[in-house]
Symmetry: C2
Subunit: 337 residues, 2 copies
C-alpha cells in the first residue's frame, strides 16, 4: 500500500507539473495601464480616451474600421516647439552663415546681409519675397539626398537658444504618448505641416515613429536628372506647394486621399484642416494645443507672430472642440533628458 501511495503521489505530482505548464495563464486583476501618463486627469484627457474607445468599439454605431482611422498632426507648435521662430528658419540662418563663405556678395546684398548681421532678429522683419529668397538660397540647387544629409547634420549639433537642448528633444512628451496611444489602437498617424516635407522626413520616423510616406508638408519642385550616369533629384528654387491654412485639406486630399477622423493643431494655420476633419460623417475629434505655459515653454495666442491662434480658438469654442491648456493639462512638456 505504501508503494501504491507513492505511485499515486508521483503520478499526481507529474500531473500537477504537466497541467501547470499546460493551463492558460490565470487572468490577472484588471489594472489598465494609463496610456497617457503625462496628461493630467481632466476633461481634455477624458475626451481623447472617450473618442478612441468609441471608434474602436465594434458594437458602437460610431465604430470606425482600422483602415479609416486617419489622424493628422500639425508639427510646429503641436508636436515640437516653434519659438522663438520655426526651427526650419533657424536651420536656414545657420546655412546662410555656412554658405556665406562661398558668397562674398552676401556681405552687401539683402536679405542676406541682415541675416548674417542679426540672425533671427532679422528674420522677423523680412517680407514674404525676401523670406522665399532666403529659403531658396538655403534649400535648393542640391539633390534631395544632399539636403537630407544637411538636415541630419544640423540637428546633430544645433541647440535651442533658450533650452540649450537639441531641437529633436524639444518635442512634447504628452503628444508622443498620444501618437503611440492612437497607433496602439490601429490609427495611422500623419504629419500635416506648413513646414518643409523634406526638412521633416530625415528625423520624424525616429522621433515620432511616423514614416516618411506619412508626412505631408510644404515643398519646392524637384527635377529628375541623370548626372554622371547616376539618377538624381535636384531641388529647384521654385515653390511646389504650401501646406498651410486652406492648403492643408488640399495636401491631405492629395497625399492621403481619405478624410481624417481626428486632427490636431495649434494655430490658425490648422483651422481648415480641423474644419475639413469635422465635416466628415460619424464621430470626429478636433484638438488645439493652447500654449499657456510661459514658464515651462512659451505662452502665446491671438497676437503672436509665429503660431497665431485667434480665429481657430473662437471656432473651437463655438464647436466644442477640445482645447489643451498646456499649463494645466500637461504634467511635463519635454521628454526627460
Amino acid at each position: 500500500m505504501i508503494k501504491q501511495r507513492k505511485l499515486v503521489i508521483a503520478f499526481t505530482a507529474i500531473l500537477v507539473i504537466v497541467l501547470s505548464g499546460c493551463a492558460p495563464v490565470p487572468p490577472k486583476a484588471h489594472v489598465p495601464l494609463d496610456p497617457l501618463p503625462s496628461w493630467n486627469e481632466g476633461a481634455t484627457k477624458a475626451n481623447i480616451i472617450e473618442f478612441v474607445n468609441t471608434v474602436i468599439d465594434k458594437s458602437n454605431p460610431d465604430y470606425v474600421p482600422p483602415a479609416e482611422r486617419i489622424a493628422t498632426f500639425d508639427n510646429d507648435g503641436n508636436l515640437w516647439t516653434e519659438k522663438p521662430i520655426y526651427f526650419q528658419l533657424l536651420f536656414a540662418i545657420d546655412r546662410i552663415r555656412e554658405l556665406a563663405k562661398q558668397h562674398p556678395e552676401w556681405q552687401i546684398a539683402q536679405p542676406f546681409k541682415a541675416v548674417l548681421e542679426n540672425g533671427l532678429q532679422a528674420i522677423a522683419e523680412l517680407d514674404e519675397r525676401e523670406l522665399i529668397q532666403l529659403m531658396m538660397a538655403t534649400h535648393a540647387n542640391i539633390t534631395t539626398e544632399e539636403f537630407s544629409q544637411l538636415v541630419k547634420d544640423w540637428l546633430a549639433t544645433a541647440k535651442h537658444p533658450k533650452f540649450n537642448r537639441p531641437y529633436t528633444e524639444l518635442v512634447y512628451q504628452p503628444m508622443l504618448e498620444l501618437l503611440a496611444y492612437l497607433r496602439e489602437n490601429e490609427f495611422k498617424t500623419f504629419i500635416v505641416s506648413g513646414g518643409g516635407i523634406e526638412f521633416m522626413r530625415p528625423w520624424v520616423e525616429e522621433v515620432y515613429g511616423i514614416p516618411p510616406e506619412q508626412v505631408v508638408g510644404s515643398s519646392i519642385k524637384t527635377k529628375f536628372e541623370i548626372r554622371d550616369g547616376k539618377p538624381v533629384l535636384i531641388r529647384l528654387p521654385e515653390i511646389n506647394f504650401i501646406d498651410d491654412k486652406a492648403g492643408k485639406p488640399v495636401g491631405i486630399n492629395q497625399h492621403i486621399g481619405r478624410r481624417p477622423i481626428a486632427a490636431f493643431g495649434n494655430s490658425d494655420g490648422d483651422l481648415q484642416m480641423l474644419q475639413w476633419t469635422a465635416a466628415g460623417e460619424g464621430k470626429r475629434f478636433m484638438l488645439l494645443v493652447h500654449h499657456t505655459d510661459a514658464q515651462r515653454e512659451y505662452a502665446y495666442d491671438r497676437d503672436s507672430h509665429v503660431g497665431k491662434l485667434d480665429k481657430a480658438l473662437d471656432v473651437a469654442q463655438e464647436n466644442g472642440w477640445t482645447v489643451v491648456d498646456m499649463k494645466k493639462d500637461w504634467k511635463v512638456i519635454y521628454p526627460a533628458n
Copy 2:
C-alpha cells in the same frame, strides 16, 4: 498488484490525454504553398521569389527591414489592361456623351464634336491641348466627392468593348498574386501611375488591396472652399502634376519619400521609375511586363501609341532587369469570372 497496475494504467492514460492536449502541434511535412500559382515556372517567377527570399532573410547581407520594403507598381498595362486606350479616356468619352445634354455647343465645337461622333477613334487624333481640354471638361468643376462617385458609378456599369467585362475585372491575376505575395512578406505596395490619382482611389483598395494613401498619380489642382457652410474641395481645370516618365521619381519622392527597392512597369513611361529604383544601394528588383499575348489580351511594344515599350526594353535587357513574357509566363491573364 492488479490494483496497482490499474492505477498505473489509469494515470498513464490521464497523462497521455493531458500531454496530447498540451504538446505543440507536431510539425507537418514542409510543403510550401506556391505564392504565385498563376505564374508558370521559369526564370521570371524564380527571379521574383529569389529577390523576396533574399531581402527578408535577416542573415543575408542584402536584408531589408520591413519599413524600407517599398514596392511601386504602374497601373495601366501593368495591373490592368490599357487597350484599346487608357480606361480613364473611355470614362471621359462616356462623360462627354452624358454632359452633352447640357452643352448643345459641343455639337459643333471641337474636340467635343469629334468625340461625340467617333468616340475612341477620335481620341487618337487629338493633340495634347485638345486632350487636356477634354480632360478638364470631364474631370473638373465638381467636388472631389462628386468626382469619386462618378467614377464608382461608371465602373459599376461600363464594360470593355472587346472582353465585355467590367473594367475592374480586367486586372491581371498574376499581378494580384504578386501584390499579395509582397504584402505577406511585409512589403508596402504603392501604385505610381500616369493615370489620375482621383480616378484610381475609388476602386483600387477593393480591387488591389492598396489603400488611397498608397496611390501616386497625375492630378489637377483642388481648392478648399466653404459652400453653404460645408467645407468642400473643388477640382479646378488646371494641371497640378503629371506622374509620368521623369515625373515618376518626382512623384515617388514627393509622396513616399523613400526610394523603392522594387518597381514594376510596362512602358517607356516607367523607365525613370525603374532607373531611380535601380540606383539605390543594396539589392533591387526591376520588372517590365511585355505584352506578347494577342490572343488572351493584346500584343504590342515598340510602335504602340498606348503603352509604348521601346527604350525601356533596351535598358532592361542591358541591365538584366526581369521582363515578363505575358504569353509564356502567365497561366491566366484575368481572374475567373
